[in-house]
Symmetry: C2
Amino acid sequence: MGKLYGIGVGPGDPDLLTIKGKKLINSVDYLFCPVKKEGSESFAYEIIKSHLENRSVQIVELVYPMHYKEDALKSMWQLNGEKVTEMLSGDKSGAFITLGDPSVYSTFMYTMPYIDKSVVEVEVVPGITSFCATACAMGIPLVEWEEGLVIYPVRKNSGETLSKILRENDNAVFMKPASDQAALVEALRNNGLENNFALISKTGTEQQNVITDIHTLEQGEMPYLSTMVVKKKGIAKS
Amino acid sequence: MGKLYGIGVGPGDPDLLTIKGKKLINSVDYLFCPVKKEGSESFAYEIIKSHLENRSVQIVELVYPMHYKEDALKSMWQLNGEKVTEMLSGDKSGAFITLGDPSVYSTFMYTMPYIDKSVVEVEVVPGITSFCATACAMGIPLVEWEEGLVIYPVRKNSGETLSKILRENDNAVFMKPASDQAALVEALRNNGLENNFALISKTGTEQQNVITDIHTLEQGEMPYLSTMVVKKKGIAKS
């Protein structure tokens, strides 16, 4: 039986990898690294490479294009699933590294259905999510007491949904806020939450940047890889 | 200046501590461990103790009672905040360990406002949340694609809120589901989601237990420390 570990490597700081993740990447025969196209850099690999002590591990690129045509993606998942299955069949082991946590919008979970479980056993290892890292880096709670929390990926033309989420919830995390920046700003204004948000990019790196002024938000363009936290209670650092 | 690290130690498996967390607990003068009452066991300490190599670190218990009288809790937070501030003033360093992630319903965040920031600098280090660990242990995604996710702590008499959450969201995580088990079962039934949930307890341990049958749920009592995941798409392991 082959063995595959799906490992969340966290949001970017190499030391936010778990001890379990580090042990596993150093114990396997193959390290599967998602890349946008053949030969391009794997961000997940960049995160873990300083912890890779097993020099005999074989690095295998798996291509995951960034576009959103579902059919093309599905055939790519299938191709990658079959490739992984084939390489691990028998008694080989592999680690598939993925950003953040595997259960939250991850490439790994899209591929998992295409792994043949009759020949490869799969174990999933959690990682630090970008939203937890963001809140911790800012020193603010995401959610407390009897409050709830919504995590939502901003899409184009989602203005009404965004307004409703803000109206009905104590705390919200918006992923990919740049997908409809204008609608998000409007939803904040409509709910009187102009001073209750933080937009953070490059969490936990030296280039970490936090915007809490709605005018700055209106005048500039949000970076693609950013996260917005909105709290009805306010986002002041305690 | 003193330095305090608030460190999420994850849900229970010692190897789900981050590399950063391990480095920090071995670098500080004091290790602050939350306990329910004086002399009782600290679960956070049990999680990290196998990684504690610095034998000269001084272990300090901080009492956090489990009851919910807010006034009494506030004075406890203040007392603990002042104790930590006093011990770290000058140039001492400390690590305050907390279950899961510090930004998600954590004892640490309630204490942080009572740390005097003019004499102690605070850095918060994220940890693996119970809900990510739960989904990974089950091999299912919490949230995919353009779906949203709600995290909500069940309270007594919350039937209508639970029904509304299930009606309006693709995915929900219910913390402390035992707080109103009957209302939760009813909300699942009202929304036709009898086959779309998993209740998991003792995540990631050898006693891990998963319930997906609503009759079992109706006949038994949920363990206090359990988590429920509900997915409209279904919870079948891929």
